[in-house]
Symmetry: C2
Subunit: 342 residues, 2 copies
DNA sequence: CTGAAAGCGCTAACAA
DNA sequence: TTGTTAGCGCTTTCAG
């Protein structure tokens, strides 16, 4: 009835190590887990045996025994406007690099709002944005699994979140344009299903209001973050009877597209049109006119999320939920100039 | 000596389900694993209990018991030229989506050549490119873990690989330019530490040779795939005494940069310079002149890799290694035209 | 068609 | 400081 142990191809376990080292499996376990209480001499014997047998502990057995898991699931909405972006890549890179360093297993889930995944076995979850999948967050929370949401400030849920102050960032961009004398300032917005885009729009409006500039809905263009729609918007904007002298664009990728369109139409940047983007995407540095933009601390946000989660995962007691708002900072380069005297 | 079972917060296990359903745990296990031999009546009782208790089997216990794992590790070199690209994102998306569908757990490893990861517990590995980390591949192979390498044709190792025929792709691009009458054709290459870039360079050279056009090393520019270096190369190229009439660029992102530089210098595309890129990056569609390019079946490559790996992982016997070469196809759009009569 | 029971490889009381 | 041993939750013989 016993499964045959096929002599040679058997996977080596802690028992083999113990036997070779001439100690008990407990001692081996202690060495592996760096639990101090092992005599140096034995420690070395065990370490030798481990090396000799090329032993690697079974993570499954470990997790089963401890009930703990060092698996972090990163959930990214399968939403093209977001996924195909500088933002997504920076996020994955930031989170991936830190997980690697912290020895956390990073599980990637590209999801739509319907998909369900087995939560048994994951130690913590990071949600990148929430687009229609708030329910997934609630599920995770209900299971008592540590969880942090990034790039989204969640006020109606008792959940940790780390977001960027898009409102203030947008406001500072528009204020800067105003300080240069611009009054007719357009906005090309991202997809307002994302919190980031809608907040940037809000910041834009707020800046105008505070400066007593009347809002003209006719020069606010809503897009899906794509370059295609940016191009369309830019064309409308530039061919209008009463063109704007400046434009605040919700992403650098789109801003660059606007810049390109302007040039194609024979307009000079910044002489004829001042442009501010958002992201601090390195692409903005190329080209003859470096893009003025708002820098988001994406990598910082990514790393912070892993740190917070890691803390949560190793904490004994449930922690107070943290809500962090990271500042976005205006980076002045060359794509804006004071408005020409009328 | 027994760990206390804290009554309420205990995680529910197969035992609870069995108890509630009034059957043995074996039966529950059979139902979960869809092993036919269960009376319909019992099946329903079990399913009810599962639903009622919101039972989710512990993947760790399952894997420990079966010795099988459905974890796929995706290893991506932490190499900026590659990582920040359309390519990387397409790959992650393709692999991520299919894993999600196949219920495979996708583990992401951003690695440098030195990093080691615990292989115990992963059922299969996908390597995206090999940049200095061939040793990692060999390690995986040595452990007998199913493994496939993508975007790299590996001939000196008994390993499955799926790559794109960059040589032929590049050749067809250059042949096309030649067919339009171009004779002085430049090349802006990617980072030749990557196989893709060096093969594209090779295809370029081959096409010239076959057409008895002498190679001019002076108009071959090697870059790190960045837009910055593309810009520099383009400037050199366009300001040269004897400029080329056409250029084949190793990526669309760089090709777009070249196009931008050309315009800034007052050159018209395609009238003054014909350009072919590589990737079929949607960005190439925007702008006034759609980019002619070579389409790589990236998503297909990504999906194929998961399929092959999945097969390998569920196969009883070791399989013959597969080496797949996917064709790349020229996509003619607007950025090239026949050379002007001299 | 069903159930009892032996593992899978490891951790953590507890005793020594 | 070390070893014994009872689980962790599941699968899988094997005997009913």
């Amino acid at each position: 009835m016993v499964r045959l142990k096929k002599g040679p191809s058997k996977t080596i376990s802690i028992i083999d190590v113990a036997r070779l080292a001439g100690v008990s499996i407990t001692t081996v376990s202690r060495v592996i887990n760096k639990l101090s209480t092992v005599k140096e001499k034995n420690r070395i014997k065990v370490l030798d045996a481990v090396k000799q047998l090329k032993f690697q502990p079974s993570v499954f057995a470990q997790r089963l025994a401890t009930g703990k898991s060092n698996v972090v699931a990163l959930v990214i909405p399968r939403y093209e406007g977001i996924f195909y972006s500088f933002y997504a890549l920076e996020l994955i890179r930031g989170i991936g690099t830190l997980c690697e360093a912290l020895k956390l297993d990073l599980l990637l889930h590209l999801t739509d709002s319907r998909s369900k995944f087995n939560l048994r076995g994951v130690g913590g979850v990071i949600f990148a944005d929430i687009i229609g999948n708030q329910q997934q967050v609630e599920e995770v929370l209900a299971c008592g699994i540590p969880c942090v949401v990034i790039n989204q400030y969640v006020s109606d849920l008792e959940v940790n979140c780390i977001a960027i102050d898009n409102v203030a960032g947008a406001e500072s961009a528009v204020n800067y344009l105003i300080s240069l004398g611009h009054r007719r300032i357009a906005h090309i917005s991202g997809d307002v299903v994302t919190q980031a885009a809608s907040q940037r729009l809000q910041g834009y409006k707020q800046a105008l209001q505070k400066n007593k500039i009347t809002l003209d809905e006719g020069i606010i263009f809503k897009t899906d973050y794509s370059r295609g729609q940016a191009r369309l918007s830019a064309e409308k904007l530039l061919k209008a009877d009463k063109p704007a002298s400046a434009v605040f664009v919700a992403s650098d990728a789109m801003a660059l597209e606007v810049m390109a369109v302007a040039r194609e139409l024979g307009k000079k940047v910044p002489q004829d049109l001042s442009i501010v983007g958002f992201d601090d995407n390195p692409s903005g540095l190329y080209g003859p006119v470096a893009l003025t933009t708002v820098r988001q601390p994406l990598v910082q946000m990514a790393e912070e999320s892993v740190k917070v989660l890691n803390l949560l995962m190793s904490a004994k007691e449930p922690q107070k939920t943290k809500k962090i708002l990271l500042p976005a900072e205006l980076v002045i380069r060359e794509s804006c100039q004071p408005i020409k005297a009328a």
